[in-house]
Amino acid sequence: MRPNRTDGEEKMTATYSGIAPLLAMKGIRKAFPGVVAVSSASFELLPGEIHALVGENGAGKSTLIKILMGVHRADAGEIILFGSEVAFTSPLAARRAGIAAIYQEFTLVPTLSVAANLFLGRERTRRGLIDARQEYQQAVELFKRLGVVIDPEALVHDLNVAQQQLVEIARALATDARVLVMDEPTAALTPNEVEKLFVLLHELAGRKIGIIFISHRLDEVFKLADRVTVMRDGQTIATTKASELNRNQLIELMVGRPLESEFPKMPAQCGEVCLEVRNLSGGRVKDVSFQVKRGEVLGMAGLMGAGRTEVARLIFGADPKESGEIRVDGKGTDIESPRDAIANGICLLTEDRKSQGLVLKATAKDNFALPNLESWSRVGFIDERQESRRFAKHVGDLNIRIAGPDQLAEELSGGNQQKLLVARWLETNSQVIVFDEPTRGIDVGAKYEMYLLINDLAARGKAIIVISSELPELLGISDRIMVMREGRIAGEISDVRAATQTDIMALAT
């Protein structure tokens, strides 16, 4: 406790709202070997406030949160929680002090039940044994309060991603936290579930809980947040009321330069039909037929679980199809594996780059080379000169920012990882390029580049499918949007310019 402090910052804080903040971080600095992650950051959270923390990847948001949660220790600066200075040495200590965090990566144990996960580390016991009945009842009450329908006895790995996210939130709330940190909580949720979550968060804010909300989805920031703090290059640039900013102003603050337009869409120059899918069925997907022309960008919309990713995986041969026909450039194919699909000029950029796209511990060049090695090799021996030459060419063409061909894939930024994967598929001479959530987890500047790249690919005469849960993005970059519901095509929007998010949602639900 430092009751006699009189520095200017604190006075300003006090005059802003007249209430004492739950949390104040001042002059935080943190350097790692070779890089200063946070150079000067200040952040304040009031009771009942939803405070968005935004910035591009690498701006220092995660580091700041990790310092708050006791994962890292700040080199300088102070953290004042509930009026007293703190410095947590572990996430557990932070949790005990009343801060709960929900990270992008889930921290649930998939093989345990929902109830067991909710009470993990603080099990309800009776005479030294776990009181499963009590846990069950408390879980039911908790879910009821949150308006969530999940069976506490279900195993976590049987839940879908959205349900797991809700369990994660419920667990945070079960600890009676007064500060809730949410890192991209909506990344895996459908619009419907996002709505529910927002209602829930407003209700929590009404109970004087302070919420720190980190998101790349700016429309959510505007919908939800009371105040916004923008971080750039390790510094907190500005803190303002969300209502005093518009979207473009916020983006400009984040990237540090004026932005011309968020979606640089070029009108399509459609050519011949390139991909034709007839009566495709398999798994959740039922009787799906559609076409994509060369030069066209087909957007694919739908709620989570509507079968969009499944369609992509069936086309790519990643999952076995039950029936249906896939034709490329008018020729029938017999695709039973990704290998066959690649040979037919189809490629898939998966939604999860880390687990399905890249070999993280391998170099950028090796990742680029993986599907192309056979075309560069003679009797199994790789022509490494050709490999390096092709790699250098694509790195230049796509403006991939890497330290060198031997940099590990895991060290690249999300945008550059995505470009690296595009490069490898261009090298295999893919004609049909399927993007599953191409901009998930990459920041605003890199998103813009991704859209330019998609335009460019379309202009080169590729047939492109983009699956996305971000409706503004779909509306901004597609020539045509196909909406899926429960494994079937629910409808199509051919005049994208005149369409709105509501039109898509009407078809999707």
């Binding site: 290998r339 898939l348 687990s355 890249l358 511990k361 599907p371 295999t428």
Partner: protein, 452 residues
Amino acid sequence: MSVSKKTTSRVALAKLLRDYGMLIVLLVLCLLFSVLTISEQHPTGAAAAKQTVAEITKTTDRSAGVLIVGRDDDEDGQFSKELKSELASLAYTNVRVVAGDPPLIRTMLEGLVDSASQYGLIVTTESFAPIVRTIISELPQLSQIRVATPPSYRWPTFLLADNIRNVANQITVIAIIAIGMTMVIITAGIDLSVGSLVALSAVMVAWLVGQFGGETASTWAMILAGLGAMLLCGATGAFSGLMITRFRIPPFIATLAMMQVAAGVAYIISQGKPIYHIPDSFIWLGRGVEPLLKIPYAVILMIALYVAAHILMSRTTTGRYIYAVGGNAEAARLSGIRVSWVLFFVYTLCGVLAGLGGIVMASQLKSGAPTYGLTYELYVIAAVVVGGTSLSGGEGRIFGTLIGAFIIAVIQNGMNLTNVESYTQKVVLGLVILGAVLLDRLKQRGFRFRGA
């Protein structure tokens, strides 16, 4: 600036340790055991003769008679023969060789008492010198004759050519199998059956040689028997691979089962007894040495296999696919790689190499017994892990494994030379394996000692 400088040097140190850490450990061990085993070395055989000549020319007249005394065996025979011809070429005319057991030597020396004045020098080997001296002390007529031995020198026992050859010989079997194991572990798998495959292969090759005529089997028959044994082991490995890829049985379980099966089959074929009916020439692979530098053929084979495996892993598509499958099998599959084929290949190859290891062992021991290769899988895995290959897959180097195998062999050999008890050796070896894995973990975390 000092921070970044410190960081740079730390990064450089970490890189050095990552790339050459185990090599440095190996060199330090070699240095340590060299220092610990420095002692008087007494040359024997032809080499001893050459060094003794210089000594004789300095101290003894050409006119004086020289008596060369030694046992009647190969080593002393070479010594005597070489020395006599050298002395003859230097115009020593009165050189006489006496060879035999101590009682015989005594009789012969007693017979020389009358002509004692002819002789000025008795040359004998280090191990025989005390006996000669005793005999002479009992025969006063001979007491004025000097007794010379080959000059000794101080040198580490560890670094004697014989000892190094010995270390290399000891690890060939394990090192050959470890090539296959490295590939399996890089795919994030494990093969527990290799120890049993050594027994199966040794028994199989011995049994087949027996079928082809036993002691009278021709060279071609032995080659055929060896190929047969490797084929059988390759098929066993392929079967494990099939179970793992087709039915998704975890590698640990599939190969654990095959370990039992292969061991059982080895006992059935041999009916539980060692098989000895093998031609003498069968030991060519295991005990033969090439004439120039006296490098054992098995060691040459091992080195050739390592070079080939290194090229496979670094220069071919198959090698890249092995790394990719271990790094992220799903990403590899979605890149169009036939993951099942890659896994099938590495388990088959691991089986074939275990089979080859068994043949080398049968050749070294000139027999095939179902008890061979017991717990070898653990030594092989240890060599791979000590060599820096990560058990979580995707990372590892072939030559790292060779260094790992050498580290284990050098520690064992060094402890033998320094008279460490065999029970203590087990404790030390266990700690070394633990230390290697610990080092691996620490270097992955950038040498931070706090838990993550």
